[in-house]
Symmetry: C2
Subunit: 343 residues, 2 copies
């Protein structure tokens, strides 16, 4: 991307059919974003008739791109991408590849979005595996990023290095964390701890141009011991889903305590509002989407139950990543630290 | 063990020097157990002079076994076991091997306890890897066991099968869960999901004589979707430590909310007692120790900060496992399901 391009409008393709409340929620969020931000152009991808129920068309910065098929939330990603060539996910991912959009966002099937982005939009030069990260709340009130949370279940050490390099730039540029510290998720702090993957990754990360803090343990994520925790997507996905379920456990515990006695019920009732706000950042729905780092486009995937607000935030996030030229920065850091040929 | 042996007193060796509050807490808990249960004999292992400060000796069912050295909480397990041959951990583990004790409990260095148990007490016939499990609270108010939580960081599918067989018996006999359901921790429910280990383990577990429920996800542990979740010790340890840190996050969130306004402070103060009791089962200290399954002895390891109550509970747990003849039941199920020669 050239400097002049950065001054242009950011063209964002939106999967109008993806998510539990599509297309209504998706279009509502898109139109809000369009109103609040004059530097974006939107391409609503999906079934024309359904989209027109909520957006009849006519706005200069918001076009409809027809796509007749929809990939369901539970369809097998690789197969769906192959078979449904006229789905909103496939068409959207291709818009970025063809240079007709700078970014593609979807609240649909995460696996299919990942597959479409990897196979159709394509990877940045030097990236073996794209990665999805998630911000976790910390005890000090900040966030700790977990990369990868499910893009790749069988990682090589080289892939963990890619995650560390790209997530460091992402955390600094988008979350304002200066020179973010990076740890490898492990069962102990010593260099020789852990399984084969973590030991080999330790060596690679300690030689890379990042703020490497060594190994961290499972308890260090919420403690916020480092800004970024690197792990393979198998364990990252399991931790992410475990963390999401904690809120359910907390609710069930308060519910049971309230049922035990009327006094308990009054006490818990008094604190309910405070509790709700305290735990709001543990609710995935408030996060508004996570980017797929390593893709040759600003592709962001959101939670299936994304609200219009979440969609709007995803669009704004995409524009910010575009303005900050993250893709070129990723490519450069990968080249500097690994040499593209090595990958 | 013969039927007549089961009618004898259960002889439990206690690591008097292990844990943050040793020997005082350990001995206090031991003496309480001795008083409440007439079917046990205790062997307090450690520095004689220090033990005598809290227990001068003289009780018929409580002997002191001298051991001059102590393995610290942060010492390298394998090395410590090798070098400190007169440590309480080494001496205690050997007492079981020699047939002088039926059980050994310690609140000391978990890794060293595991190493001493595996190398000195020895494994049950048919066990490739011993395993440590942990009970997690569920939304329905029950528990879900996680095996393994750190005994082995590089597992083979066969090891996961051993964990599933032994933990099924443990959960049924000790926790009263009839025909407990067993799931493999994975990133999705389908058989073909996950990494190489989980896919191979799926096949083995589906052919074993257990109540196999297929794959479960990270969010299913606290939901209590199954009674037992099987995983390798690398991920199990990370999840256990993550789960332990959740309580810290909850506390920090309430603290911050209370600091925000005086009204919040009053509201949270009102609910504090209820919250504390609701989350008491998420506090490792209340669990009282976890057994090492697969060892040729009832060896149990407790949290470093074990209170006298936790120690007493560990001793009672050991006696229960002894009376229920778990070691022979483990050996039999391993033989029936795998054939010892295959291991």
């Amino acid at each position: 991307m050239t400097d002049s391009a950065r001054k242009n409008k950011c063209r964002i393709a939106v999967d109008a059919m993806g998510g539990d409340y599509a297309p209504e929620s998706i279009i509502a969020g898109s139109l809000q974003a369009l109103e609040e931000n004059r530097d974006i152009e939107l391409l609503l991808v999906g079934r024309e008739e359904e989209i027109k129920t909520y957006y009849p068309g006519g706005k200069e910065r918001c076009k409809i791109i027809p796509a007749a098929e929809v990939i369901g939330m539970n369809e097998s990603p690789a197969q769906a991408i192959k078979q449904k060539k006229d789905s909103s996910l496939v068409v959207g991912a291709k818009l970025v590849r063809q240079g007709d959009a700078d970014s593609f966002i979807s609240a649909g099937n995460t696996g299919a979005m990942l597959a479409a982005s990897t196979l159709l939009t394509g990877r940045i030069r030097g990236v073996g595996r794209p990665t999805i990260g998630a911000p976790m709340p910390t005890m000090s009130g900040g966030v700790c990023f977990l990369f990868d949370v499910g893009a790749s279940v069988d990682c090589k050490p080289q892939h963990l290095l890619e995650y560390a390099l790209m997530s460091s730039i992402f955390a600094e540029e988008i979350y304002g964390l200066k020179n973010p510290s990076v740890g490898i998720l492990n069962v102990g702090e010593e260099e020789k701890k852990g399984n084969e993957l973590s030991q080999a990754a330790y060596k690679l990360l300690s030689e890379a141009n990042i703020n490497f803090a060594g190994n961290v343990e499972g308890g260090d994520i919420l403690k916020g011991k480092v800004d970024i925790v690197i792990c393979d997507g198998f364990i990252g996905n399991i931790i992410l889903k475990f963390a999401e379920s904690v809120l359910g456990l907390i609710k069930s515990k308060f519910k049971r305590a309230a049922e035990e006695s009327f006094v308990n019920k009054l006490k818990i009732g008094a604190a309910r509002g405070v509790m709700k706000s305290a735990f709001s950042d543990m609710d995935y729905q408030n996060q508004g989407g996570v980017p797929l780092l390593g893709i040759k486009g600003i592709n962001i995937v959101g939670h299936g139950s994304s609200s219009p607000l979440a969609i709007k935030n995803m669009i704004f996030r995409a524009e910010e990543m575009f303005r900050k030229d993250l893709l070129n920065k990723f490519e450069k850091v990968l080249e500097d630290n690994m040499g593209v040929n090595k990958v």
